[in-house]
């Protein structure tokens, strides 16, 4: 299930104390989901006893963040049948490997983003993904073409 900034915001102190360096708690919530900040940066949440139950809920809510790759991609291998739709549709694969993955074959480049290993999709090289780094775009081509929902993204 995707985590929304609103869900995170609801569990924050909502005091806009600015101790984390952000102007508001809402913008802090966005940054937590984008993984530019961690939940530990919210000082009142960890220092003040009255926020304890909120803090525990929030840590539980954000558990999937640790499992996801740096672009927010989550692969559930148990649901994957190995159709390789994600590998062929990937626009980066099509550009970098036009006669391999772009033409339907297995990737022929050294480090593709995704590769079929033992019948299920594995994330090999996340740095090539368009969602990686500063100038990212929110591409969802692989998720859109996965009918068994083996691929999902943090933001939904």
């Amino acid at each position: 299930m995707p985590i929304t900034p609103m869900e995170v915001y609801k569990l924050l102190p909502k005091t806009n104390c600015k101790r984390c360096g952000e102007q508001t708690c809402m913008s802090f919530a966005f940054k937590v989901i984008n993984r530019e900040k961690t939940i530990e940066d919210c000082k009142p949440l960890f220092e003040e006893e009255k926020y304890r139950s909120q803090k525990e809920k929030l840590i539980k809510l954000l558990e999937p963040l640790n499992k996801a790759t740096e672009t927010g991609l989550i692969v559930d291998e148990s649901k994957c049948v190995g159709c390789a739709n994600c590998i062929v549709v990937c626009p980066v694969h099509a550009a970098e490997d036009p006669f391999g993955a772009g033409s339907g074959f297995g990737p022929t480049i050294e480090n593709p983003i995704l590769r079929m290993e033992n019948g299920v999709v594995k994330v090999v090289n996340m740095e090539m993904c368009r969602r990686y780094g500063k100038n990212r775009t929110l591409c969802v081509a692989c998720r859109e073409n996965c009918p068994s929902d083996a691929i999902s993204f943090l933001e939904g």
Partner: protein
């Protein structure tokens, strides 16, 4: 090591294996179905058996020869997962013994292959589809589950030839099914999912649209698909078991539909979804006899009465030679249980339900892993299959030995 996968009729030839010593450690590019064959090829191996007791292979072979020589009515069944070379020897054996021969295509897509071989349906290769096809229709089939890499390797997703912009702009996907299958979920942009209750209603709607009339049902869907088909000079229909059983043996409306479609545009038909070399068996038998399956060499004709399940049900045979198939698992139990009453010989690399009740079990080799040969892809292209570790005792060896004895 690059090999060809024999998991289904796609016969993907870009699978790479990585070894750790002799053991296959990693399979790349294969789907879950294909990878399983290579990762677990040495598990659950069959052992030579006579009457349920383990014996030497020679002894089991001797007993099989005796049973076949004594049989009056022999049926040979299976053969869909083995190579064309083995199928030829099996057909030779059937001819010598004046036996019945049949494979799973009787209740699978054999009828469509027959129509293609007789020239009633226009067909193309999957490479042509990749390079040219615009409207890609999956009718009564769910390739996501039955042929996992079909869409990504050959049809909808790859870019190639005239269709460089791929699925995003250069393809139009149509999925016809009775329920929203996994493949139907992929019909999003530039695509249509048509939910049918009766395939004939949809065929009728297409015909009416082409004749300039308004159909009562599917008016919007049928008109849109026909309009898209007119845009390109290469469209394709992949027919599966849903279409076969939807038509219920009456293929005339469908043949007429493809003829009519070919008057306004170019539409090809390719069957989709069966065992690795089912089409190979159909073509080999067709070359020899003019029939694709359920053939009797004694009566020199094919008939529904010679279908394996009918022969077993009516106790018309006294011996069954089953090669690479598990009818006790795949046929209705009431029918298949008769196999225990007659002399059953099983040639299979793995243990199966049928091998548990068989009089003689002859272990052979897995095609594509332990035996090389030729296979025929779903579109009729011959593909060479190379073994990873060649085994001496394979289907061809065993069948040739049986042929020599009779």
């Amino acid at each position: 090591m690059q090999i060809t996968c024999t998991g289904c009729s796609c016969l993907c030839d870009d699978i790479t294996l990585r070894f750790n010593g002799e053991k296959i450690e990693e399979v790349r590019n294969a789907c879950r179905r294909g990878a399983g064959i290579y990762l677990h090829h040495s598990s659950n191996m069959a052992k030579p058996k006579v009457d349920g007791e383990e014996v030497e292979l020679e002894k089991a072979l001797e007993r099989a020869k005796e049973i076949i020589a004594d049989s009056k009515n022999l049926v040979i069944y299976g053969l869909d997962t083995t190579t064309v070379e083995a199928q030829k020897v099996a057909i030779e054996l059937a001819e010598k013994m004046q036996a019945y021969i049949d494979d799973c295509s009787t209740f699978c897509l054999g009828d469509f292959v027959e129509m293609i071989l007789k020239g009633e349906l226009p067909t193309a290769t999957l490479e042509d589809v990749k390079n040219n096809a615009y409207v890609i229709t999956y009718w009564g089939t769910d390739p996501y589950n039955s042929l996992p890499r079909h869409m990504s390797r050959y049809t909808y997703y790859p870019r190639g030839g005239k269709r460089q912009r791929g699925y995003e702009e250069d393809r139009y996907l149509v999925v016809v099914d009775v329920r929203k299958s996994h493949t139907a979920k992929l019909a999003k942009k530039n695509a249509r999912f048509i939910k049918v209750d009766d395939d004939l209603e949809l065929i009728d709607a297409f015909m009416k649209v082409m004749n300039g009339k308004a159909p009562e049902k599917f008016a919007d869907d049928a008109a849109r698909v026909i309009r898209e088909m007119k845009k390109a000079d290469f469209n394709v229909i992949f027919g599966g078991l849903g279409l076969k059983y939807g038509l219920n043996g009456n293929y005339k409306p469908f043949i007429e539909l493809t003829k009519k479609l070919n008057e306004i545009s170019k539409v090809y038909f390719i069957p989709a979804g069966f065992h690795a070399n089912m089409r190979g068996f159909n073509e080999t038998l067709f070359e020899k006899t003019g029939c694709v399956n359920r053939y009797s060499f004694r009566e020199q004709k094919c008939s529904n009465d010679f279908a394996f399940s009918r022969l077993i049900e009516s106790n018309a045979v006294d011996t069954a030679l089953i090669i690479g198939s598990d009818p006790l698992n795949s046929l209705p139990f009431d029918v298949a249980k008769n196999l225990a009453k007659i002399n059953t010989i099983v040639i299979d690399p793995r243990r199966s339900f049928t091998s548990e009740i068989a009089k003689v079990v002859l272990p052979s080799a897995i095609s594509g892993v332990e035996q090389s040969g030729t296979m025929v892809r779903s579109d009729g292209v011959k593909v060479e299959v190379k073994a990873v570790v060649e085994k001496d005792v394979n289907d061809v060896y065993l069948l040739k030995d049986l042929v020599r004895a009779v």
